[in-house]
Amino acid sequence: MTMKWRGWALTTGVLAISAMAQAAPPTAAMLSNACAGCHGTNGGSAGPSMPSLAGQSKESIVDAMTKFKSGARPASVMGRLAKGYSDAEIAAMGEFFSKQKIHVTNQSLDPAKVSRGASLQEANCSRCHIDDGKEGKDDTPVMASQWLTYLQMQMADYLTGHRKMPEKMKEKVDPMSKEDLDALLHFYASVK
């Protein structure tokens, strides 16, 4: 019975159409795998300027994508790409990447800067960048083991006003020296 139908479908060309009509909406994996050409397989980035998404919190990804989409957060490519997805799809991708194991990067970091950063983070950043940056309060991004280059590029965007800093973060960041900020980024990048 089924075989006969298939034969008929093949000769009439209905098969291609039926396969389409019966396709389920894109799964989180279908949507997210397309991002991996830039962000790495399952969101684990191998390139120092490209952020890892693996193990990033869902809230932070949704917040970032929503801001990319509206233009509230400046971007090179993400502003355009984010417009390709609905809010529900963005949430599904946020969920997908948040479930991946955090990508431990092997980057060479100046140990002196790392320890200087470690001594500064508690008092200045830990209110939101919780548990050595392994977690984030609400939509605060996870920074543990993120690529240093990426974090530096983002901090530069904050400091030039290109990317808007959260008010309470700005209060902490503004009085700090560039050296101390760089030390903090070294620290977060070093956390495994």
């Binding site: 075989m3 159409i17 396969a19 019966q22 279908m30 790495g40 490519v77």
Partner: protein, 429 residues
Amino acid sequence: MTLERRNFLKLLGAGAGVATAGLAGCATQQPKTASAPTRKVVVIGGGYGGTIAAKYVRMMDPSIEVTLIERNDHFVSCPFSNLYLGGLLKDLSPLTIKYDKLAANHGIKVVQAEVTGIDAAGHSVTTSKGVFKYDRLVVSPGIEFRTDEIKGYDMASTPEVMPHAWKAGPQTILLRKQLEALKPGDNVVISIPLAPFRCPPGPYERASMIAMYLKQHKPGSKVIILDANPDIVSKKGLFMKGWKKHYDGLVDYRPAKKVTEVDTRNMTVLIEGVEEVRGAVINLIPPQKAGHIAHVAGLVGDDKKWCPVNPMTFESTLHKDIHVIGDSSIAGAMPKSGYSANSEAKVCASSIVALMNGKEITEMSGINTCYSYLSAKEAVSVTGVYRVNKEKNVIEAVPGSVGVSPDLSEVEAIYAESWLKNILTEMST
């Protein structure tokens, strides 16, 4: 549409849900009993599409055996090969991948062999190392050249004199050597074929990189672009801006100049059989078609150039159980790029795994991004998110997602380097 289909299936005596499973199930070679042989996927081509299809099938269902057949023991990336031509890379090693880690990490059998035939009815491929049976086959052989459209072009000898460098490797090195040997004051000709061809912005990026090299090392030399197309095919405004900013007077762009004849002895090309253009270096990029094996296997459509596929699964509309991805396929609005091939491979892998397990397939969702360098430090990008338009049964861009960079950008050049690192790491680990 969906409802009609369902009602129709009901008439055939099956409930909608059952029909779905039954339909998908009958399209597979799934073993009915535990003692049945292992299910096999064979992938032809270890480039941008093939490596990813092999890897993702194994990631999504490790019970499926995957064999990747590639003629070479390594792969050289076309993306970034223009930077090597411009002198920004010392050699091609950052663009070269091997297959050992990919094979070990995912349990993929990698076979170095030339595929010479596909028996669609018998579900097997013939290679220089024997016959391989498959339940489903993925074909990602890249491109072949339509050299018969250029008078005087000999497939073997012409590219040794007028390199295409449109498949990276020895051809890229040859073109670089010719550029280094160029006498200052002599000109470089780049001949661009009619679209569609592999990597729409690629020839213009190449012109930029070569102009950069000439500006630094060959005073008095310029790049003459003979474009068969009526206009710059991709990122027009940005390329024009970059050429004006960095290489004013060094890029001589000539639209609607289709090369129809070559003379390697006199180093000339002929446009539409009449206008002769001479170059000390001639980078002749011939018009293109699907990889040779796709033609041999009867996967090419009425246009005799490219392979028609079901846009949701990338299964050939001409032969069942064979999927065609990458440059060889007709993927609607998705351009022929490495990023597209990567994205299509994942869609294809997901469909294959669903079909082989009798499960419902998932609607495709893909991305393309192409970075192009205009100078040592500046790049631009084009992006797009792609979906199937179900009414038209064709892949289209999601409105708003397609666009190019507002300007030349140093930041994009930094991101582009990591893009290459990530996509090559995806392919090789």
